[in-house]
C-alpha cells in the first residue's frame, strides 16, 4: 500500500513538472515576447512605463537569459506562489494573477466537485438499472438519453437549458448570484441563491460524464454478471439482489473510481465553456479574455493551476481505488 501511494505521489509530482513545461511553452507561443506585449498594452491604456520599470521587469522575467533559465525563474516563482502579473485583460486592471485566481478559483472548484458528485449520483444507479434490465424499454430509454447527452456540445446544452428556463419559467439562469446578493456579505440566503444558480451549470457539466459513466457501469456490470464467481455465488444460494450488490457492483466501482481520472479533465475543461456561456465568475471567462488579449501569464497560470488540480484529483482517485480494491492494497506483497 505504501509503495503504491509513494509511486502515485511521485507520478503526481512528475505530472506537475511536465505540465509546467507544457504551460511554459504555451506562454511562449504567441509571437513576440510578453514584455513587449505588456508595454504595448499599458501604452494603449495610457500608461507609459519608465525605462527603469522596464529594466526591472526584464530582470524579473529573466528576459535576457536562456529559455531554460527563464523557465526556472518562472517555475521557481510559481512554487512559492508568485504567479506573475496580469496585463489587465480581466476587469481592465493590472493586478497579480494570484488575486484574480483567489476570486474565481473557489467557485470553479465548488462547481466541478458538485458536477462530479452529480455524475456519480445519477450515472451509477442508472447504470445498474440498465444492466439488470438489459434490452428492456428502460435500458433503451437511458441508452438513447446517454447518446444524446454525449452528442450535445456543452455550450449548446447550457444555452438550451438557459433558454428553456427563460422561456417556460421566466428564470434568467446566468451569473452566480441574483443582483441583490451579488455584493451582499455571505449569508445562508446567499449560499442558497448560489446553489440555485449552480443547478444549470452542474447539470450541463455533469451530463457528458454521466453519459459515459453510465455506459461504463452498464458494460462492466454486464461483463461481471456473466462471470464464473457470480455463478458460483448463485450456486451456493445467494440471492440475486445480494449477488448484484456484493460482487459485480463492487467490482464495477473500480473502473468508475479510476475513471474519475478521465471525467475530471472533462469537467474542468467543460467548466471553462459553461462559465463563459452562463457568465459565471470562474476561471473560464478569465482564461478566454486572457487568451484573446494574449495576457499569457494569466492564461498560463489558469491552465497550470487547473491542470495541477486535476492531476491532484487523479491522485485522490488512486488512493480511493486502493481503498476499494484489496488487490492494489496488497500490491507490495504481490510484487515482493
Amino acid at each position: 500500500m505504501r509503495a503504491y501511494l509513494v509511486r502515485r505521489f511521485l507520478f503526481m509530482v512528475v505530472g506537475w513538472w511536465l505540465l509546467s513545461v507544457v504551460v511554459f511553452i504555451v506562454i511562449q507561443l504567441p509571437p513576440g515576447d510578453f514584455l513587449t506585449n505588456y508595454i504595448a498594452g499599458q501604452e494603449q491604456a495610457g500608461t507609459f512605463l519608465e525605462r527603469e520599470e522596464i529594466e526591472a521587469l526584464k530582470l524579473y522575467y529573466g528576459l535576457d537569459r536562456t529559455p531554460i533559465e527563464q523557465y526556472l525563474f518562472w517555475a521557481g516563482r510559481f512554487v512559492i506562489g508568485d504567479l506573475g502579473r496580469s496585463f489587465g485583460s480581466w476587469r481592465a486592471a493590472e493586478q497579480p494573477v494570484t488575486k484574480i485566481l483567489a476570486e474565481v478559483l473557489p467557485f470553479t472548484i465548488i462547481l466541478s466537485t458538485l458536477a462530479l458528485i452529480f455524475t456519480y449520483v445519477v450515472a451509477i444507479p442508472i447504470g445498474i438499472y440498465s444492466a439488470t434490465h438489459q434490452y428492456r424499454p428502460g435500458d433503451y430509454f437511458f441508452t438513447a438519453v446517454g447518446f444524446i447527452g454525449l452528442a450535445v456540445p456543452n455550450f449548446m446544452l447550457a444555452l438550451l437549458l438557459m433558454f428553456m428556463l427563460f422561456r417556460y419559467f421566466g428564470i434568467t439562469a446566468g451569473g452566480l448570484f441574483a443582483p441583490e446578493y451579488a455584493l451582499a456579505p455571505w449569508s445562508v440566503d446567499k449560499v442558497l441563491d448560489m446553489l440555485k444558480h449552480l443547478i444549470v451549470p452542474v447539470v450541463v457539466l455533469g451530463t457528458a460524464g454521466t453519459a459515459g459513466t453510465m455506459r461504463v457501469m452498464r458494460g462492466v456490470l454486464l461483463d461481471e454478471l456473466g462471470k464464473q464467481y457470480v455463478i458460483t455465488a448463485r450456486a451456493r444460494g445467494v440471492s440475486e439482489r445480494r449477488l448484484l450488490f456484493k460482487y459485480p457492483v463492487r467490482l464495477a466501482l473500480n473502473p468508475i473510481v479510476s475513471g474519475t481520472a478521465y471525467i475530471l479533465p472533462g469537467i474542468f475543461g467543460g467548466n471553462a465553456i459553461v462559465a463563459i456561456v452562463l457568465s459565471l465568475p470562474m476561471t473560464g471567462p478569465v482564461l478566454l479574455t486572457a487568451l484573446r488579449a494574449q495576457d499569457m501569464f494569466l492564461a498560463g497560470s489558469i491552465v497550470m493551476v487547473e491542470g495541477a488540480l486535476v492531476i491532484f484529483g487523479t491522485f485522490l482517485s488512486d488512493i480511493l481505488l486502493a481503498l476499494v480494491d484489496p488487490r492494489i492494497r496488497q500490491e507490495r506483497a504481490v510484487a515482493a
Binding site: G226, K227, Q228, Y229, I231, T232, A233, R234, A235, R236, G237, V238, S239, E240, K246, Y247, R250, L251, N254, V324, D325, P326, R327, Q330, A333, V334
Partner: protein, 345 residues
C-alpha cells in the same frame, strides 16, 4: 411430511419411489431461444442418482453435460429455460426443482445446502476482491442463522478438511494469493461447508496439472466417504470416469445416448458414439504404427436440430432411412444398461 406419505404421494406425480434415489431427472429440456433459432442444449435427458453413488456424465464439449448440471440448480444463463421434472428428495419430501422460480426462495434454499456445485475454473470461481473465507462464510450465513464468528470457525474447519495447511491464516487470503490447486481445494471447501447430499462437479480437474488432478480426485473420493454424499461428475475424460464413477451417462448433442454401470459400458460399449470415444483413449499395448482413432467431424451445434439421431452425420454405421427418420428410443439391452440406437431396436 413423513417418508411414508411421500412414498404414497409420489406415484401420483410420477416422482421416484425408490428410497435410495436422491435426485431424478425426467425428460429435462433446456432450450435457449436465440435470434438464430432454438438451441436445444439439453433435449430430453432422464437419469437418477442414488445415495452415496457417483454418477459420471461424459461427452464432448458442447454435448450439454454442463448445462444439465446447471439445469439441476436452475442456474442456466439467460435466455435458457428448463422444462421437465427434476425431483429432489429432501427431508422425506420430493421437490420438483424444475417447477421452481429460478431466483426464488425455495431453489436458493436447495443451492449450497442440498446440492452444491464446483466448477472448472478455480481461477475465476472466487470474487477477486473478497477473501476466500468471506465467500465460504457467505454460504453458511445465507442458509443458517449463525453468528459470523461461528461461520468463520466452520470455514476454517472445512478448509483444513480439504487439506489446506494453515487454514486459520488462509481463510483471510484473497483468491489470487492461492495456487491453482489450493484454489480448487478452497472451492470444494466452499461447496462442502454445508455438507450437501449431492455435489455436482463440472470438470473440476480439467484446468489443473496432472499431478494436482490426481490429488483433487483423491480428495473428493475421501470426502465422499467421510461425509456420505453423492457426486455427479461431469467430465470429458473417460479415464476419470473409470476411476471415480459407479454409474455413467454418455451424452451427445443434448441427449443421453447410453447409460449404465461403468463396468457394463466399459466392458461392452454399445452406441457407436461410445465405441468411438473408447477407441480414442490411448492404451498400453497398442501395436506400433496403429493409430489412435478420432471421431470424424465436429459436434454440430444443436440449433433447430432435425428429428433424427444426433450422431447420424458422423456415425460410421449410419443406416439411411432409419437413423435420419426419427430420434431413436432408449432401449434396455441388458438390466440397467440402456442405449439409444436403431441397431438395437
Amino acid at each position: 411430511m413423513t417418508e411414508e406419505q411421500a412414498a404414497v404421494a409420489a406415484p401420483e406425480s410420477g416422482a421416484p419411489t425408490d428410497e435410495d434415489v436422491i435426485l431424478e431427472l425426467n425428460d429435462v429440456r433446456t432450450y435457449f431461444e436465440l435470434e438464430e433459432g432454438t438451441l436445444k442444449a439439453v433435449d430430453g435427458v432422464s437419469f437418477a442418482i442414488r445415495r452415496n453413488e457417483t454418477l459420471g456424465i461424459v461427452g464432448e464439449s458442447g454435448c450439454g453435460k454442463s448445462v444439465t448440471g446447471q439445469s439441476i440448480l436452475r442456474i442456466v444463463p439467460k435466455p435458457g429455460d428448463t422444462q421437465g421434472n427434476i425431483w429432489l428428495r429432501r427431508n422425506g419430501e420430493t421437490v420438483d426443482l424444475a417447477s421452481l422460480h429460478p431466483s426464488g426462495r425455495e431453489i436458493r434454499d436447495v443451492r449450497g445446502r442440498d446440492i452444491a456445485m464446483i466448477f472448472q475454473e478455480p481461477m475465476t470461481a472466487f470474487s477477486p476482491v473478497h477473501s476466500v473465507g468471506n465467500q465460504i462464510m457467505e454460504a453458511v450465513l445465507v442458509h443458517e442463522s449463525v453468528s459470523k464468528q461461528d461461520a468463520r470457525t466452520r470455514a476454517i474447519e472445512v478448509l483444513s478438511q480439504v487439506g489446506i495447511p494453515e487454514a486459520e491464516r488462509r481463510v483471510d487470503a484473497l483468491p489470487h494469493e492461492l495456487s491453482g490447486g489450493m484454489r480448487q481445494r478452497a472451492m470444494i471447501a466452499m461447496a462442502l461447508v454445508l455438507r450437501p447430499k449431492l455435489l455436482i462437479a463440472d470438470e473440476p480437474t480439467t484446468a489443473l496439472d496432472v499431478t494436482i488432478q490426481a490429488q483433487i480426485l483423491r480428495l473428493m473420493q475421501d470426502l465422499q466417504k467421510e461425509m456420505g454424499m453423492s457426486i455427479m461428475f461431469i467430465t470429458h475424460n473417460l479415464g476419470v470416469i473409470a476411476n471415480m464413477a459407479d454409474q455413467m451417462v454418455v451424452m451427445y448433442l443434448g441427449r443421453v445416448v447410453e447409460q449404465g454401470s461403468v463396468e457394463a459400458i466399459f466392458g461392452e460399449p454399445q452406441h457407436p458414439y461410445t465405441q468411438a470415444l473408447m477407441e480414442s483413449i490411448p492404451r498400453i499395448g497398442l501395436t506400433r504404427g496403429e493409430r489412435l482413432s478420432s471421431i470424424a467431424g465436429t459436434v454440430p451445434v444443436p440449433l433447430n436440430p432435425p428429428e433424427e439421431c444426433g450422431f447420424a452425420s458422423r456415425c460410421p454405421k449410419f443406416i439411411p432411412g432409419r437413423c435420419d427418420a426419427k430420434v431413436p428410443d432408449m432401449i434396455e439391452t441388458s438390466p440397467g444398461h440402456h442405449v439409444r440406437c436403431v441397431l438395437y431396436e
